[in-house]
């Protein structure tokens, strides 16, 4: 059971290639960290995994449990078991958090969830993420602070229980308390049923959510892969140190 990215080349219309052949494999039960400086292509990878039509795949493919999803619509990918927490979540006017979650939960089921069961699930997950119950009446992300938006993303993750979760900079913009709550929530959801790809710019979140594998991305390529020690190396040397090393070994 895995998400597999093979030799992925991606560009946006009318612009140069952004990803130049990315390979990555995330098995269920594993936690991976994808690290890279701003502009290295992390969000492009996350959006391409989800099938954002703004990004065009020119070569390579995306597979879930061996099934080719390269051409699939985003909703099919979601129903197949992939989830992404957005770096910049969209605001959905007129749709409350609770309604939105019900729609999303039901989209992945044959029979709609029973009202009571849904209510209990929602309450439990909101408690876990220390979200005020009033929150679920508000329109999704409308007037939310940065931290509230990120929490709402993790609430969706908790409600939808995907096989593979891509978290795009869920840690950025959070203060320490919020980071701890969100990290605790993610840790709660980790387990043999979930493969996680945690995208981050900073090493900070990795102190709370320990990954087994770390990948470093520079300029649209994964340039280093390893275990948690790679995050420590990055912390010591910074992206510039890594970049210099990569340049030296290439040259």
């Amino acid at each position: 059971m895995s998400l597999e990215i093979q030799n992925l080349h991606v560009r946006v219309e009318g612009a140069d290639e952004i990803l130049h052949g990315v390979d990555l494999r995330v098995e269920k039960g594993e936690t991976h960290a994808l690290m890279g400086p701003n502009g290295s292509g992390k969000s492009t990878l996350a959006n391409t995994i989800m099938g954002n039509p703004s990004y065009e795949i020119t070569e390579g493919g995306i597979f879930l449990n061996g099934e080719d999803l390269t051409e699939a619509d985003p909703d099919e990918r979601a129903r197949a078991g992939i989830f992404m927490a957005f770096q910049y979540p969209a605001t959905i006017p007129g749709v409350s958090v609770a309604n939105f979650l019900r729609l999303a939960v039901n989209a992945g089921r044959e029979e709609p969830i029973r009202v009571k069961e849904f209510g209990e699930l929602l309450r439990k997950n909101m408690e876990m993420l220390k979200i005020d119950p009033q929150f679920n009446k508000r329109y999704l992300n409308e007037g939310f602070s940065g931290g509230e938006k990120k929490r709402a993303e993790i609430l969706q993750l908790a409600m939808l229980r995907p096989e593979i979760a891509v978290l795009d900079e869920t840690d950025s913009g959070l203060d320490i308390d919020a980071l701890r709550i969100v990290s605790d929530g993610v840790n709660e959801l980790r387990g043999p049923e979930l493969g996680a790809l945690i995208i981050t710019h900073y090493t900070r979140i990795l102190r709370y959510v320990r990954p087994e594998f770390v990948h470093i991305m520079l300029d649209g390529r994964i340039v280093r892969q390893g275990g948690p020690e790679l995050a420590d190396l990055l912390e010591a040397e910074g992206y510039e140190g890594i970049r210099a090393e990569v340049a030296a070994s290439a040259g």
Binding site: M50, G51, N52, P53, S54, D73, P74, D75, R77, A78, R79, F83, M84, F86, P89, A90, T91, I92, P93, G94, V95, F100, L103, A104, A107, G108, Y139, Q156, L160
Partner: protein, 437 residues
């Protein structure tokens, strides 16, 4: 053209003056912003007639569009239905009648209480406004009169319905409402037709006076179906000292509609909220012109219009804020949003401002746009199919205005009708969104 049923001298005089204007004025064409034209050249006015009908016993005897729209009759405080040229149903809850409320045809009101009616009739409307206002003033029959005495609170809505259920009919309609000092009530006027096979005309006048300290919720609901109904109407609401009116016009169907909607905060402390919706489809043509007129100091306003278009429909909205000399310390906002759901639909939104005094705040803004791809993508990443995502987003877009109705059965009606329109247009809308993606 029919002779008036009434022998009221005052009314006869007004009708005569109106007829003169009618005969003098040509059929108008409205032009705006260079490219926008509303023309009646396809309306075969000569082939239409004001048709009379016998009174009926119950809503069930009417075309089903009426029962579908008004919901449970016992949730109403009163109901008056005009079919074509005739009042066919009029009924008032005895408890509401006991409070002194009157709901009757305007013809009958001219007979029964001429002083009250003459005092208010066409205070804010004029036959001089053009051919159709003149036609309405000259030829109206039936009509509706809503009278709420001072210091009463009427919970249940007072419901007026204009029904066109056959082609070939011209309906000249006039509603006069007066809400007394410190009273509270809700008034609904619905314009309804099934899908007619042919042409019909609704030429309408609506005037409502919200007297000092009153609190009024007013809803207009227009759904003329898919037939060739032409609607040319003028609606005007006057709000007196310290009174508040929330006016929510909903336009969900009409072959060709030209409406002037004016809301006058006429005395200090008067306050209004004006939130409207339109949704055009097929080859419909909608032309709305609203004015937020502030006549005295310390008057407030808040106007929001939201529209959506499918098919080859056309919608044009012009919203004017006018603050006259002496109306200082007034505050008002106007926002207009329009969403294109088809590559062949066309829309424009023109907010404008005339401020003749200092010390006021007035702002306006407008957007014309398409559904945001990023929102559709976001919803799809949650497993929601594209067609459902589009439907939810469009419904969500209107929700702000729908909730402003604060009338559960009308809210449900509007949601139902919007959902049906989206379903009817689903294929083209989804294709449009997907192609842009």
């Amino acid at each position: 053209m029919p002779a008036s049923a009434s022998t009221n001298r005052f009314l006869e005089e007004r009708r005569r003056a109106a007829l003169e204007v009618y005969e003098r004025e040509p059929v108008p064409t409205w032009r705006r912003s260079g490219f926008w034209t509303t023309s009646l050249k396809r309306l075969r006015l000569d082939e239409l007639e004001p048709r009379r009908y016998e009174p009926l016993d119950s809503v069930q005897d009417l075309d089903p569009v009426v029962a579908e729209a008004i919901g449970e009759p016992d949730e109403l405080g009163g109901l008056i239905v005009q079919r074509g040229a005739s009042t066919v149903l009029c009924w008032l809850d005895p408890e509401v009648a006991e409070q002194g409320v009157v709901l009757s045809s305007l013809e009958r009101a001219f007979e029964k209480r001429p002083e009250a009616v003459e005092r208010w009739y066409m205070r804010r409307l004029s036959e001089g406004e053009g051919k159709f206002p003149a036609a309405t003033a000259a030829f109206w029959t039936g009509g509706a009169f809503v009278w709420v005495p001072p210091e009463v609170a009427v919970e249940k809505p007072l419901q007026v319905v204009y029904l066109l259920d056959e082609p070939g009919v011209a309906q000249y309609a006039h509603t006069l409402g007066v809400v007394g000092e410190l009273s509270q009530c809700r008034i609904r006027e619905y314009d309804l037709a099934p899908d007619l096979d042919g042409q019909a005309l609704h030429s309408g006048a609506f005037e409502l006076y919200c007297r000092a300290g009153s609190q009024v919720r007013l809803a207009h609901f227009q759904d003329w179906g898919a037939g060739e109904v032409h609607d040319i109407s003028t609606k005007r609401v006057e709000i007196a000292r310290d009174a508040h009116c929330a006016w929510t016009p909903i336009h969900l169907g009409g072959h060709l509609t030209r409406q002037t909607l004016d809301i006058v905060t006429a005395e200090s402390g008067s306050d209004m909220r004006h939130k409207g919706i339109y949704f055009t489809e097929g080859a419909e043509h909608l032309d709305l012109f609203t004015t937020d007129l502030k006549e005295q100091p310390h008057t407030n306003g808040d106007t929001v219009w939201k529209g959506a278009l499918t098919g080859e429909s056309r919608a044009s909205y012009e919203g004017l804020i006018q603050i006259v000399r002496g109306a200082q310390e007034s505050h008002t906002y106007l926002q207009t949003h329009s969403m294109l759901l088809s590559p062949r639909a066309r829309t424009d939104a023109i907010p404008s401002l005339i401020v003749e005094t200092d010390n006021v705040s007035a702002s306006h803004g407008g957007t014309v746009g398409e559904l945001d791809d990023e929102l559709v993508f976001y919803m799809m990443t949650r497993g929601i199919p594209r067609s459902e995502a589009v439907r939810i987003l469009v419904e969500g877009y209107f929700e702000e205005v729908v909730q402003a109705l604060e009338d559960p059965s009308l809210e449900a009606l509007v949601r139902r009708r919007i959902a049906a329109k989206l379903e009817a247009a689903e294929e083209q809308v989804v294709e449009f969104i997907a192609e842009r993606g």
